[in-house]
């Protein structure tokens, strides 16, 4: 029995000493760190996309805990996660409609002219710096897929026609693609939006007609036929107000270039969820 006692007493004593030292130092050198920051950071997606405007997810977590940012500040987190954060912190969230990105240019190789053959770095931002990009339209998609690289959630891919395509189910509406695109072609719209003119050109109709078959020429027919007054023409470009648009489809028929089209994001989502 003696060896057992020796063991118990020695190691017990070492354990006690360790406990004492730790306890006493912890008492003397106490530094408060809000444990909730860690918990919130755990809930956040951890993509560090920066879409929220903070330097990464942990930074945002600290801001949320300190009340400097709302619980749903993360563009990439679902409502469910925001709710989870809010209930953990005992605060409330304003419900906001989910936004997704759409590509506001349909000018693929078959429909839009190019000024020259571009050789060089395969990055839209770099291409934009070489004589302003190869596309004749200075507003149109360059098609080198920088937005695809920029999406943290794999929601974009290049379609067969050389234009990016958004997977609306994967898109979190973080807006990284909008920011990274030198021409800001991907734009965020509410999922419930029912119509949009998929063009970004503010060029005059005459110029657009020369270089692109599917551009908005700013003729204003859509504005004229819209019964809800949901369409505005902003410098030769038709813009649909999602709050007013009912998706009646009158403008689709009238548009001479067919660029104002129906958008069916919600159904798409429902189908996928089912």
């Amino acid at each position: 029995m003696e060896p057992v006692l020796t063991a118990i007493l020695t190691v017990g004593a070492i354990g006690m000493l360790a406990g004492l030292i730790l306890g006493v130092t912890a008492k003397i050198f106490y530094v408060h760190v809000d444990p909730r920051i860690g918990h919130v950071a755990d809930i956040l997606p951890g993509a560090n996309c920066g879409g929220c405007g903070y330097a990464g997810c942990t930074d945002l977590a600290a801001a949320i805990v300190q009340g400097n940012a709302p619980a749903n500040a993360c563009k990439a987190a679902s409502d469910e996660l925001a709710q989870k954060i809010a209930s953990m912190l005992g605060i409330s969230v304003d419900q906001q409609e989910r936004q997704v990105a759409q590509i506001f240019c349909h000018g693929d190789a078959a429909h839009a002219q190019r000024k020259f053959v571009y050789l060089g770095i395969q990055d839209c931002r770099a291409a934009q710096l070489v004589s302003g990009g190869d596309k004749a339209c200075t507003y149109g998609c360059l098609g080198l897929g920088t937005c695809v690289q920029g999406c943290f959630f794999g929601a974009l891919h290049m379609g067969p026609n050389g234009l990016p395509v958004v997977d609306t189910e994967l898109c979190t509406g973080c807006g990284s693609c909008t920011k990274i695109c030198p021409r800001h072609i991907p734009k965020l719209i509410p999922v419930s939006q029912k119509a949009a003119a998929f063009c970004s050109s503010h060029d005059a109709g005459k110029v657009v007609k020369e270089i692109c078959e599917v551009g908005c020429i700013g003729c204003g027919l859509c504005k004229k036929v819209c019964p809800e007054n949901a369409v505005e023409i902003d410098k030769f470009l038709s813009v649909v107000d999602p709050a007013k648009c009912t998706g009646c489809g009158k403008c689709f028929e009238k548009c001479p270039t067919g660029i104002i089209q129906s958008v069916v994001l919600t159904r798409d989502l429902k189908k996928k969820a089912a």
Partner: protein
């Protein structure tokens, strides 16, 4: 001679035939398009309307500020259109004036007697270095910083361009007048003239004209020594840390190209450009071209038919921007036109740097181009700055020498742009 050594750079072996070919005029084009921004000084305000009749040298675009360079009609004739968004060689959408020639070439009489220095803005003189800048801005800076040394740069910037060497020979009197004018306005007590050591005739002419008043600095051709900073280094043995905001004027020097000195000496609005035309086979012609002449017209005159799939450069083969079409007009930003055939086009690489170090050896700024470009490719912008990306003058020596043909200059310009954008955002 207190001259500094140039490390790195490229010794081109191309023949200097251009030096012996005199400037030719070209037949006045029937129609010109004059973009209203041709330098870094900002967009000029149109001073003519559609259907206005203009004379050669008449103001058509007024500089937006005191130290800019205004733009003048190169032809006499009728304004057919003031274009709002003309896409220039850089892809910028800027206003431009289209003029239809009346075949008269009647000159507009400028109000005489203006002092050259004050008239620079009005005369629209620009100087060409890495970019085109209004000479007035340069002189204003020189005056503010009490510059006492004038370095006249008669070195051609790139291989196969020879307009400066030729100007020194043909316009030596105008250059002399220009130097005198600058001497009068600035407190310059020392004038140096950097010239290509192989331009014997021009150096002889300069020596004869200037006597002892101008110190001539014959330099062996080495690209890119004609850049302002490197001229300053070779002439004065001082390296200006321009990336840290120090200017050449801060060391008391002003570097001006001979074409700007010629224009000052002539004291007339700038309406034509001295350019060299060359293609893959070598130098073709030295020309005096009215500003606004379409490149196509110039090439027709030189009997060059560009090949589809080839390239047209607004400048030399090292740093000239490639242009999209033959209808682009010659502007003050042109030092020459270089035409490249389909097979001569350099295809950038898919491959990866093999760290051979040739670019490091070639870089005249003693940078590590492969690393800067590598960081730039990966979007590691902070690291590019640690490796002094802003000291890069984008001369292209690195990409020229690289065995795997990495488009280093494009990566570097791309990264610089991104950094500038970030700074703007912050």
């Amino acid at each position: 001679m207190n001259s500094g050594r140039l490390r790195g750079g490229i010794q081109f072996s191309c023949p200097l035939t251009g030096l012996s070919s005199p400037f030719e005029g070209i037949p006045s084009p029937p129609k010109v398009i004059v973009p209203l921004q041709q330098d870094q000084g900002g967009v000029c305000t149109p001073r003519v309307k559609k259907h206005d009749v203009v004379l050669v040298g008449q103001l058509i675009g007024e500089s937006p500020n005191q130290n800019g360079a205004s733009i003048h009609a190169p032809l006499s004739g009728k304004v057919t259109e003031v274009i709002k968004a003309f896409q220039d060689i850089h892809g910028r959408a800027i206003p431009a004036v289209a003029i239809e020639s009346d075949g008269q070439s009647q000159r507009f009489e400028a109000q005489a007697g203006a002092e050259p220095f004050a008239a620079l803005q009005g005369a629209g003189v620009v100087d060409f270095d890495r970019m085109t800048v209004p000479l007035a801005a340069k002189l204003e800076e020189a005056r503010a910083r009490k510059v006492n040394t004038l370095i006249v740069n008669a070195l051609d910037i790139e291989p196969l361009l020879s307009s400066r060497g030729r100007l020194l020979l043909e316009e030596v009197q105008a250059i002399a007048a220009g130097i005198d004018a600058v001497r009068k306005t600035l407190d310059v007590n020392r004038v140096l003239l950097a010239a290509d050591a192989d331009a014997n005739e021009a150096i002889a002419a300069a020596t004869k004209t200037f006597g002892g008043s101008v110190q001539i600095l014959p330099l062996r051709n080495k690209y890119p020594q004609a850049v302002d900073y490197l001229i300053a280094k070779r002439a004065l043995n001082v390296e200006v840390p321009f990336a840290h905001g120090v200017r050449i004027a801060d060391i008391g020097a002003l570097v001006v190209g001979v074409e700007a000195m010629t224009a000052v000496g002539r004291n007339q609005p700038v309406v034509e450009r001295f350019i060299s035309v060359a293609n893959g086979k070598g130098h073709i012609k030295n020309l005096r071209v009215p500003i606004g002449t379409p490149i196509g017209t110039v090439l027709e005159h030189c009997r060059i038919t560009p090949e589809p799939g080839g390239k047209i450069l607004a400048g030399g083969p090292m740093t000239g921007p490639a242009v999209a079409g033959l209808d682009q007009p010659v502007t003050k930003e042109f030092l020459g036109i270089y035409v490249q055939g389909r097979r001569e086009v350099v295809k950038p690489a898919e491959a990866v740097c093999i760290k051979c170090g040739l670019c490091v050896e070639a870089c005249p700024m003693r940078l590590m181009p492969f690393l800067i470009s590598g960081f730039a490719e990966k979007g590691m912008l902070a690291e590019t700055q640690n490796y002094d990306i802003f000291t890069c003058i984008e001369c292209g020596c690195c990409a020229y020498i690289c065995p795997v043909r990495i488009p280093m200059v494009q990566f570097i310009t791309f990264a610089k742009k991104q950094i500038m954008d970030q700074r703007k955002d912050a």
